[in-house]
Amino acid sequence: MSAYAELAATSNFTFLRGASHPEEMVAQAMALGHTGVGIADRNSLAGVVRAHVYARENDAAAHGFRVLTGTRLVFSDGTPDILAYPKDRPAYGRLSRLLTRGNLRAEKGHCRLMFEDLAEHAEGLQLAILATCSGEAVAPGPEASGRIGAIAALAPGRVWLAACMTYGRRMRRGLMERRDLAQAHGLPLLATNDAHMHTAARRPLADVLTCVREGVTIDTAGTRLAANAERHLKSAREMARIFREAPEAIAQTQRFMAGISFSLDQLAYEYPEELRGGFSSEQEALEHFAWEGAAFRYPDGVPDNICAAIRHELRLVAQMKYAAYFLTVHDIVRFARGRGILCQGRGSAANSTVCFCLGVTEVDPTKHDLLFERFISPERKEPPDIDVDFEHERREEVMQYIYARYGRLRAGLTATVISYRARSAIRDVGKAFGFSEDSVAALSGTVWGWWSGAVDDSEIRRIGFDPDEPRLKQAVAIADELTGFPRHLSQHTGGFVITRERLDEVVPIANAAMAERTTVEWDKDDLDALGILKIDVLALGMLSCLRKGFDLLRAHYGLDLTLATLPSEERCVYEMISRADTIGVFQIESRAQMSMLPRLKPAKFYDLVIEVAIVRPGPIQGDMVHPYLRRRQGLEPVSYPSAELEGVLGKTLGVPLFQEQAMKIAIVAAGFTPSEADKLRRAMATFKKVGTIGTFRTKMVEGMAARGYERDFAEACFRQIEGFGTYGFPESHAASFALLVYASAWMKCRYPDVFACALMNAQPMGFYAPAQIVRDAREHGVEAREVDVNHSTWDNLLEPDDRDTLVLHPRHEPMRAHVLSCHAVRIGFRQIKGVREADMQRLVALRGRGYDSVRDLWLRTGLSPSVLEALAEADAFRSIGLDRRDALWAVRGLNRSGDKDDLPLFRSAELGEQEPEALLTPMPPGEHVVEDYRHLSLSLKAHPVSFLRARLDMKRILRTADLDRVPTQKVQVRAPSWTLPRVSVAGLVLVRQRPGSAKGVLFMTIEDETGVANAIVWPKVFEAQRAVVIGARFVAVTGRLQNEAGVIHVVAEHFEDLTPMLGLLSLQGGAVSALARADEVKRPQERTKKPVPEIMLRLAKAEPAPEAAHQAEEVRRVMPRGRNFQ
């Protein structure tokens, strides 16, 4: 039997065409006993690394099996498709440059190649001309066959004519023609099967992919689908049989392979040279910078233990030859610091002493026991991993620096492979099956959460489908297969590849979605696997917030602080965190985090590290959270599964919480080698791809059981690794984040004015809307002032506050001694929807001593009336005596043609004088509040609910602030619910959260004029009242009040949709008393009572009977709909 290798294997990195993973292609080819496989994706090298790695990890070479790196060149000028395989490294570089040229010529995701491009890069390539011509432009004509001679001439002796026998309409004639053609041009004939899948069983999936690609349904796709399933890998015997009329073509596959010596392993990575500076070697440069940094960090002399650590780490770096990598990071960080851009490193090596000295991280290794070895191990041959976060608004500067320093030829963004998730898979498959839009939505809606594998039968039944219906069954099965398929390449948010020589000779470069960005075709795993340097330059909103906060502290308080010099370990900060008073604080502001805090009661930095890591899929899936909490609260003794694991789990009370710990368990307790553990981690990250997870599970669980561990514990550890896989959180990351947690908490605790102002100026970010941030600031004694044309700037700003007493919400009374702030926040123009920064800058620049009328502002700034209208809508003319309604009237009264020449000043002024008085009725306060929400998303005047309090009182609905005053006996853990008091509260829905990990429990946060309350909704209640829970914007919750360790929840039993009541808001003419009362509640200890604005006191004439339904709908739309999180 003659040997065979498929040289036209298309993987699913030829998106929506290939129906098998590259790994599957390799595995199948090996199983069929082929001598190799050539992965040739369409104008791309995106899939070859995976095939290569799979072969490497499965010892393919030992079986005499080779994976060839190549591509299927598809042209836009009518040239037939060509398989191109580089013979050696230089030829590979040319192929990569060829693809790069095609990529850069086309828009993102496309590649436009011309024959001339190939002609220029053909040296060293082995080519096989296919019979198809699948390029977009021209159909193959006589010209296409005419090209064959030209192609043959390009690479004498290196061109084959490919034939494939896939049971089409003219199989025999086709073969004869190819044979004649080959003869005529003196080319050898090469057998291929143009395989788009590894087995024929993938035909349904391949057909569905075609449907998705063409945007048609399976019933209408017709001849766009393949007529049969023949384009799969076939055994050598079968290929020989099919090609019995041209047996020489089979033998040529071996000759073709023999000509190729290139392997991806030859892409030895070389670090950029310029990092060395003036030093003779990278290591020397690094040592210099490290000691220089150490001297800066420890001006009073570097402590001995630090010296020892630095020496130790440098030795390790030298041994691993990682100096250049550290220098690269250092270079970028140095640039950022020079520009005043706040940054913070994280990742496996970021929290080393060297990195601290280099300024990559601000986590002081002397204060926190984080061992370098844990993050960088000689066993792993991959480069260390350092991600650097930058202020999100200024990261672009850093990226441009990298481009400028290394040039676009040497620096590019790494790719991210966007893969089908269960949800998107069922959506696309459903569409291809022609399910109605809403059935598709319903089906994909059954998939919650980050990681859930397939669509669940019971879920399908719940939404009213029969999971046994054959077509649906098929769709679900195909969707399951599709899950994990790459869908397209996207740019990684900030991962950079930097090379010494031309980057486009290492990997093809393509245009990214953003102009002026280019990405490579490989993602970070691919780059890791080939040992290519990458560095993540990420954007982090909180860093912007903190930098703005530091700036404000410098400007208004004369404090010059940095992340490193922040007063560390202040007790009041931890106390604040322990009270879950963390709105706006980095990472720990979500409901889930906040409910954890009072139980965890963090008291030192490492507690924050744990806090950051614990509310993650890994620990939750592994059921590690509650054991840890119980141990922490002293409800359960600390014990270790075994003595050998005490070292691993010591810091986390015997419960594995970090990714490293789970990996370590696999090594220590299950007998994995370090590289196996690493393989396991990677397998998880690209889960369910090759079906090897089952073997890992067995190995781990059995391995641990064999060493005497409980099976349950082993299973839990494995589940945890599964959870990490998709959303891993190693300790070093957590440590870096914890620093930002502390910094933001410190700022919030000490200078709530600065914090709120900085946070609002860094929006959009985080969990909460500006309304909640302002409210929280006010509760911490910060005065918030209305946006105003004569006072505001684009950004929110701090103004001196002349009040001499701090007005705190009673809840925050314990902080009285710790709050140091003394400024008010003036809301900035940026909060107004629909105004542009440039316009507002102009307004500020021309303000002089202030504007005295709408017309004055208009004439001086020349801003268009629509901009003025936006300002009026935002009620920003109060300082010139106009409320929203009057200001709008005045703006509308300006000549609206916008052409100033046709408006002599005097004439329009004259007209203005002559205009009869319109006698407008004053806008009722409730409507003002609604309008505030409409245009600013927040209102400083009053809380909407305050206007409705009288009605709520009648319904015996409590204020949220009253909840902690409801008498409850100190509740024991798991008290029977009937012993708990039953209460009702009402408020606007802020957040609904249904974490995938919480077994269908939904958390709802509502807000009234006195504060927020949290409701827990069990699935049963949720199902019964779904409509209200999800649809309502204003809702009343009735249920049992639960107070566990200071965390107050209402366990919901019943909901009432009060949304229609909001319709009354804009009609609340006589509700001024309600407003006054709301104010009272909000500022109970305010000394100088601010008068309610006069305009609000002007009593509105009773307005005519309401068209209530209309109004309610109107207002409903304005009010925030509540943000949904998973």
Binding site: R170, R172, R173, M176, E245
Partner: protein, 281 residues
């Protein structure tokens, strides 16, 4: 034969036709056109030289030389229809009856398209029986909206007497719609020999490949052996119209022309014909 000869013959032919039309009973309203069967660009197709092109408004008959050649006869008839359709607008109306469609297969549009006939122009009438078929055929022949009318005479052959033939001939003459009948084999006998059909063709399948070629070749374009089977008055007037000669022709389905198959060795083909005659006898 010389070019001068042939052009003279064409002129003569045209005159003859004009005479016939003049003498018609005033039902003749359509102008007769002549459509060449072969490509005007190539050297004259032998049929054109012999017949001077196909006249519109006339009746044509096609029959297979044996039962198994029915599909070939149909293909040839469709070739004629395609020639007419190429030179005039209008539909190709195809009449067939239930029995014939069942027995011999019904027109298959994708195949028609490949045969050089635009299926979008085909209107297919499928009658329940022979009576209806003849009625429909006459209606169709009378209609001025057709570029050509084709009929599978199969089940209606028995009913197709001289009267019917005359009616259809007249209808075709009046409307100008060329009408092509596909007969069952061996129906050009007896009295029917004298019906008003302008021309009759007897068609035999011919191999498209050389015999005993190895390895086994793939089938090529349609090859037919065609014999003019119209002895009698008109034929007598036409010199050189040999009713015994079987010419092997090819239908160029891509361009829609007939052409002589000169390249193929004839002995094998004529041998096949003898066998065919033996079969049909």
């Amino acid at each position: 034969m010389s070019g001068r000869d042939s052009s003279e013959r064409v002129r003569f032919l045209r005159q003859a036709i004009a005479d016939i039309e003049q003498s018609g009973q005033g039902a003749c309203s359509a102008r007769v056109r002549h459509v060449p069967m072969g490509s005007p660009e190539q050297a004259g197709f032998s049929f054109d030289r012999a017949l001077g092109g196909l006249a519109t408004g006339a009746l044509y008959e096609v029959a297979p030389s044996r039962m198994s050649d029915l599909a070939a006869a149909g293909g040839f008839a469709l070739g004629l229809a395609a020639r007419f359709a190429a030179s005039a607008p209008g539909a190709i109306l195809w009449v067939s009856d239930e029995f014939s469609a069942h027995e011999n297969g019904s027109p298959y549009a994708p195949g028609l398209a490949r045969h050089g006939l635009d299926p979008a122009r085909v209107v297919f009438v499928r009658t329940a029986g022979g009576q209806d078929l003849l009625w429909a055929l006459e209606e169709a022949a009378r209609c001025k909206g057709n570029a050509a009318v084709v009929a599978d005479l199969w089940g209606a052959a028995r009913l197709f007497d001289l009267v019917a033939a005359r009616r259809i001939t007249q209808a075709a003459r009046a409307s100008g719609a060329p009408t092509i009948l596909i007969h069952p084999p061996a129906s050009f006998r007896g009295a029917m020999a004298q019906n008003g059909a302008r021309m009759r063709f007897e068609v035999t399948s011919r191999p498209s490949v050389l015999p005993s070629q190895a390895p086994r070749p793939v089938p090529g374009a349609a090859h037919w052996g065609v014999r003019f089977a119209k002895p009698g008055v008109e034929a007598g007037r036409l010199r050189g119209l040999d009713t015994e000669l079987v010419r092997t022709i090819i239908w160029e389905h891509e361009n829609g022309f007939f052409r002589d198959a000169l390249s193929l060795a004839l002995p094998a083909a004529s041998g096949a014909r003898t066998a065919a005659q033996a079969n049909s006898a």
